[in-house]
Symmetry: C2
Subunit: 246 residues, 2 copies
DNA sequence: GCCTGTGAACCTTTTCACAGCA
DNA sequence: TGCTGTGAAAAGGTTCACAGGC
């Protein structure tokens, strides 16, 4: 069993962290994980703002659009560099450019989805990935009855060919939508084929070696967390911890 | 526009937080958010262990199964109470019972899904919600062509009837799977109909009043975060921050 | 001897508050 | 005057290390 090498939605181990490695593309400063997780929010907010032909934006306005607070926006953006103008705000186009560069959205990332069940199919059809450079190019499933099936303009490939197709398409990011039982094995095979980022929807603990990142999305867990707070509200408590949503 | 009242996956505002409210069901201590987010992991690990007729489990073993470290497990469980036995470990059945009580999994939560597109349909068909008390009872969509459509054993209801059906079914938890543009309006209507927990899949900032919790799952954002670290690995960096995955 | 429970140390993240510059 | 950029303070979360009970 593997031990290390995954990225979590939450904060990570401090002791195990290698410092001074995660610097900006221009090698200036290290960007905290919490900040990285918010950059996509700013990106989206700026895209919407840019479409409205607005030239500059204040940290306050950006905060509102991204669903965070202004202090956070300023701190976060300061990690990228001093891109704002005091007394004025941030240039929308320029900031958008810098953030998309940091996030690697200026290039294309070919993506593979493994597990073409309900969820896998939904993800395969999801417009919104493609939008920002994430092109789903490969669909893989273990069920022979599904192999060859057409979904959108892709045809489902057998898991026996995983290694080959992943290499052929130069897949760097894999989406795992298999049942829990298959998750670890599929993750191992993806990594063996050269995948170094995995988005895991399978409701299972699953680990990858160092040098590979993995993020987990677990729908049942999200509901259980809501249930916790729901329960307390229902039984006489008040509101849960809060902040505007991003 | 609303301002407050949402729960985030990440840590929340401290200044805005009401302390001493989130105590255990037995009103003993406050449970930190980070701990609440891990309880479902322990729950799942214990369920799997319990099925194998194991009577007790050590923090180390539980940590391994949940994908966290042993110190965290002990700290987390200590917030619930002193349910372990020194020198021995935790009684699987008892701990399972306590955690499911804390998480509100001993009762049923009727759930409504709004937005029956690709994702909404996948969620509607997803077995694994039902498993732990989350029963999808209502499917809602704005598209007249979809209304009346049968999915599983449910029939899609018009958004015009949202208020009525949500009240009739006593829905407390709503799942938002609409396009971004509709998210805020639908959230408002859900809240107005009495929903106090929302799981939001729409790629949009969306806020709810105090007393309502909201968690966000954004697929595009997850990919963008992976892309950030992927980019740095590709350009000569080393592994990203790490911890075994939960 | 073994494993839990927990204060204390440490690290990360958030927030505050204001200096500094257009 | 207005808004950014950033040290410093505060809060939250994680890890350590060991006392304490089985």
């Amino acid at each position: 069993m593997h031990k290390l090498g995954t990225l979590q939605a939450g904060p990570c181990s401090a002791a195990e962290r290698r410092k001074d490695i995660w610097v900006t593309a221009s090698s200036r400063r290290r960007i905290p994980e919490a900040t990285v997780a918010r950059l996509p929010l700013y990106y989206r907010a700026l895209m919407e703002t840019g479409e409205r032909q607005v030239a500059t934006i204040s940290s306050e306005r950006l905060a509102e659009l991204a669903g965070v607070n202004a202090a956070k926006v300023r701190k976060d953006l300061s990690y990228l560099g001093s891109y704002g103008t005091r007394g004025v705000g941030y240039d929308v186009e320029y900031l958008l450019h810098e953030i998309s560069r940091e996030l690697g959205l200026t290039r294309d990332w070919p993506v593979a989805i493994v597990g073409i069940g309900n969820l896998g199919r939904a993800l395969a059809n999801y417009r919104g990935f493609g939008a920002r450079g994430f092109r789903v190019e490969v669909l893989i499933d273990a069920d022979p009855a599904l192999v060859g099936h057409q979904i959108g303009d892709l045809s489902v490939v057998s898991i026996d060919d995983l290694d080959r197709v992943v290499r052929e398409h130069n897949i760097a990011i894999g989406i795992l939508a298999t049942p829990a039982g298959a998750a670890q094995e599929v993750a191992d095979r993806l990594v063996a084929a050269g995948v170094t980022s995995i988005l895991n929807f399978a409701p299972a603990v699953c680990s990858v070696p160092e040098g590979v990142s993995m993020r987990k999305v677990d729908l049942a867990i999200e509901l259980q967390i809501l249930s916790f707070y729901q329960l307390r509200r229902g039984t006489g408590g008040t509101a849960p911890p809060r902040e505007r949503t991003g």
